[in-house]
Symmetry: C2
DNA sequence: AACGTATTTAAGTGACTGCTTAAATATACG
DNA sequence: CGTATATTTAAGCAGTCACTTAAATACGTT
């Protein structure tokens, strides 16, 4: 890879320890990154917020509330469902989506940040 | 937009309430989505994890630990810094990056998920 | 069966990502 | 000053994203 930099004043011990540490959490990070990537889209985050608040909604409702076409919403829902973040329940011709219970561990702390209005990352 | 669907069995009251609710948290969601989007990248999440654990690191160290070129690392750091998630401190010719204190509110709950190995979203 | 509603799937497209390599900038040191 | 180290910036590019429109699927009603 690179030839310069890398190792002059470096703490070799620290580096090697970090490599091990990272390896241990690699799977967890990979999984978490996927979830955060999905939640890191404004439309999808709104959808998750709404599903959390209302407990269940159909694509049609979300389309109306968010002012987006139904196919656009449907495609977002598919991604969330494929990742296991939401699940669906069909009733007649309408499909109700809701937060998957198994994803609460990840989503709860995130959704809590919204309500708390605590989102003061910067400036 | 669409002409079909939208309103037949819909709970008009709920929809309109949701529109208001979303509007209230719009700014918070927008900000949070940006942060999650950044953290939702495997490389960057690892970087944040390492910065959190080691309190500070230089691009060179991160490059070594993560097995990536220095420019690639530098570009990720720039994004994190532009978003206010990390900050930098120059000492001689090396630049130490660390988690911005102001971003702890968002990052702490996320980073905690890694250590807890609780990341069991799915299956 | 035929039509209307609810939703998904598919194909196309412009914008954005994340990497690469090469060059630029900045600081330290002989 | 010239060279080595540390980092950023820039340009290029393949891959992905999020939307659009159009078509397909599915259920309900008459």
């Amino acid at each position: 890879m690179t030839k310069s930099c890398i190792r002059v004043y470096a703490d070799v011990e620290q580096i090697s320890q970090c490599k091990q540490d990272i390896e241990k959490v690699d799977a967890a990070i990979s999984k978490l990154a996927k979830a955060l990537d999905l939640a890191g889209n404004e439309v999808r985050l709104k959808m998750l917020f709404l599903l959390d608040k209302e407990s269940k909604m159909c694509p049609c409702d979300l389309s109306d509330i968010l002012g987006m076409t139904v196919p656009a919403i449907s495609q977002h829902l598919k991604k969330l469902k494929d990742a296991g973040l939401v699940e669906s329940n069909k009733v007649g011709q309408t499909i109700f989506y809701s937060i998957a219970k198994s994803s609460n561990l990840i989503l709860n702390p995130i959704l809590k940040l919204i309500e708390n209005e605590k989102v003061t990352t910067h400036e």
